[in-house]
């Protein structure tokens, strides 16, 4: 067992983990952060995407020990209290989800995409979310959602505060 200290969605945790534990399993099984899900075992689907020190990562491809000393933000930590993150709001308003299983990862990847490219074209959005698979929507409304959120985020400066997260 290895001890790690990690902040997740604004709360601090100190835990012993097996060195082989994946970050996603640590989040789900030890912290009960079940908003982040597992969709595959080859890092193809992106359903488990979270932010590690503000960067989008697939949490099935990161060991929990690699998050030691880091700040992790999950889908459960991006809303400001009852106020949705612009990306969450946009996915709702553009019907960018159906079953919702890919949605946490898709939203986290899209936030990172807009942080790096505040004004993405349709092509850039499609390219930017290529690592996240959705089986329900055909992506068209996801693209629209990212476009809407990009507009709102650049006008409100949302990406600057995103990694601090809400209290767990």
């Amino acid at each position: 067992m290895t001890q790690i200290n990690v902040r997740v969605d604004g709360a601090s945790y100190s835990d012993d983990v097996e060195p082989r534990t994946l970050l996603v399993h640590y989040l789900r099984e030890q912290l009960g952060k079940v908003g982040t899900v597992v969709g595959c075992d080859t890092s193809n689907c992106g359903a488990c995407t979270v932010h590690l020190d503000g960067e989008s990562v697939k949490s099935c491809t990161v060991l929990a020990v690699q998050a030691d000393g880091a700040e992790v933000t999950t889908i459960e930590g991006i809303a400001d209290g009852a106020t949705l993150h612009p990306m969450q709001k946009a996915f709702h308003e553009q019907h960018g989800l159906q079953c919702g299983y890919c949605t946490p990862g898709m939203i986290m990847a899209s936030i990172d995409l807009v942080k790096n490219n505040p004004n993405p074209t349709e092509h850039e959005i499609r390219e930017g979310i290529e690592g996240n698979l959705c089986r329900c929507t055909g992506y068209q409304n996801i693209v629209k959602a990212v476009q809407q959120a990009a507009g709102e985020m650049s006008s409100t400066g949302t990406h600057a505060v995103e990694t601090t997260g809400a209290q767990a």
Binding site: G35, V37, N44, I75, G100, E130, C136, T137, G138
Partner: protein, 825 residues
Amino acid sequence: MTITEDPSTATPEAPAKEVGSARLRKEDARLITGKTTWTDNMVLPGMVYMSVLRSPVAHATITHLDVSAAKDRPNVVAVYTGADFKDEQGSIPCAWPVTPDMVNPGHPSIAVDTVNHVGEAVAIVVARSRTAAVDAVEAIDVDYENIPVVLDMEEATKDGAPLVHAHTESNTSYHFVFDAGEAGTGGDTDAAFDAADVVVSRRFVQQRLIPAFMEPRSVVVGVSGDNYTLWSATQIPHILRVMAALTTGIPEHKLRVIAPDVGGGFGGKLQVNPEEILALLIARRLGKPVKWTETRSESLMTAHHGRDQIQYIDVAADREGNVKGLRVRLLADMGAYLRLITPGVPALGAFMFPGIYKFPAYRFECDGVFTNKVPTDAYRGAGRPEATFAIERIMDELAVELSMDPMELRRKNWINAEEFPFTTVAGLSYDSGDYEQATQAALELLGYDELRAEQKQRRESGDPVQLGIGISTFTEMCGLAPSRVLGSLAFGAGGWEQASIRMLPTGKVEVVTGSTPHGQGHETAWSQIVADQLGVPFDDVEVLHGDTAISSRGLDTYGSRSLVVGGTAVVKASEKVVAKARKIAAHLLEASEDDLEFSGGKFSVKGTPGAGLGIQEIALAIFAAHDYPEGIEPSIDAEAAFDPTNFSFPHGTHLCAMEVDTDTGFVKIRKYACVDDIGNIVNPIIVEGQMHGGLAQGISQALYEEAIYDADGNLTTGTFVDYLVPSAMDLPHFDTGNTTHAAPDNPLGAKGVGEAGCIASTPAVVNAALDAVRHLGVSDIRMPLTPERVWRAIHQGGDGGDRAAEGSNAYGGARTTESGYEEAK
């Protein structure tokens, strides 16, 4: 784009305020914040975890199986093999014996002495943690003695072929025939072919697909005395409850099934899974709660697959292009076993091969064939995409043979708007529609004339990138289904749906539906329906589903049935609530029932608007029950079951413009436009989303997806690295539109939309690619249209798909040519 048909075809109950409005979805609130209830989230006190050892070989006898080392591993609770359950596991049920003499070899949940496909369960470790269970599986010692592997259906049906199941006489499970002449719905098919000017015959391959829902399957069983609760990522909690009770012997009233949030299904979770049965058996044996969640590779390897047919199709016509007859013979791959509706999927397609055309004669035959692969079963469309592909492909081939414009040929033969309702040669009564109107709208949406001009220009200039336009004018049968029809097809259940409405004391409303969503938005759409029916606010309605203790009766979600059948049950239950409330209102308002009118949620005496009593106030009054009429019950709650009298028949015209790079074989959809008629629309944004998703899957069959087994029966597409689920970069923008001809057979006028895009799009895409390169001598390209196949078809002839290993399921063996129909016999 929306085109509304003249009012004479609309139902009397025109859409009111909520129905038809683009309400944002209620269910999103939890899905976008991570506050979901996926089955794998569930943790119960003392819960143990299952991990399954799966066969690495496709066909073998288990000669040695030693689990003792696994039992000694840390935190292992128990290890089981087939021997432990052989007397109690029964058989995974098959609810659709399509013929009286269908051979069902039986489907053990865990192999006892032989394995029949790669991935079949051989042993199970139960441990205190997921990781301990997975680790201990490694310590199981097992030897296999291989048996010849059966993979290729055309080989498997020959005399003397090796058998999948040694105790059967052949690899053919059943021979299903529909002959319109014998059924009295058409003329003599052979006579029609004998008299025809032109006969075109083709052999099409419907490759094997994997539903690939995003949420892996997951099961949790809770135990309380002799009561069991089964949580499962399933589309069918109600059917699963009955079937699991019958299979395990757990009395039905001691078994509660819950489908919590379910992450997609597409037919792939329309199943009674071996692991669901095994989790129940193990929970019963241990008296402990049990969890099993599959990995993605387990899912791709062992959850059922879809499609997988070889289609021999012949069409007869006169020189002017009037179709005279249609003859279809299928080989349908069942896989190693029959699961819930494995044999029924191709039989369901039997009725859709004639498509929208007025064939005077039709004969359909299908052999269900066993192979050493995972079973096939429902996948979005289930039988209808296969049928639509074949008919829409061969109409193009006939047009080429006759040197006719493919749309002109279709127009000449399709059912005209004034001919509805129309009884087809397959005996179905198509309800409503206007194929010409949808086609005109789609042509406009695509920009057909400009693209045809560009195609001509590219062809004349010898551009290496050629352009093609593909057509699919389709219909499908939705709203499964009239129970009597299902009975006549030997299906094991009915097709009704149930709903109940509970009026709570505060005036809030609970709607209980037997239809179980997994992404379709029932909570929103049902709220819209009830808001209109009862005149209550949308936000005052809560929709409950997916738990057999709450929703005791239901037949779940598949076959584009939820709105058409389940939504109608909600309407019927609402009508009963209003009728019951009317009696209370009359009593409290001291008026005659006949003098009351109900509007906007309020009963008032005719001629005295303003005064009156709201239905939500009546809910409180009847809760108190201090003052209500003698002789009635103190409740305005109601339930209703609705059994449809007919299927519904959405239709549409799908057009695909495709660029084909003749140097590289790379294909790119330039534009995709479709106009669908799905009847009245309850929520346009949900409808558009369903269309997009269906299109993505149908297009992906044409371009990307194929479950491939090698010559030894190993699934070589067993991860998301190898099985191509398309990303955002792989799919185009879709231009969608609607025409509206209300369905006449249900009060909502709805026809169903869940499968339309998936059924219609595949042939449009393939026809487009062929249209681009037909002048280069290409008449078919095997799906999926990989660059390699397209390049080979252009530069080496054939359909580009002949490279597959001999004996593999890619059907790369001897190619039938002149008349596949004859040769296959």
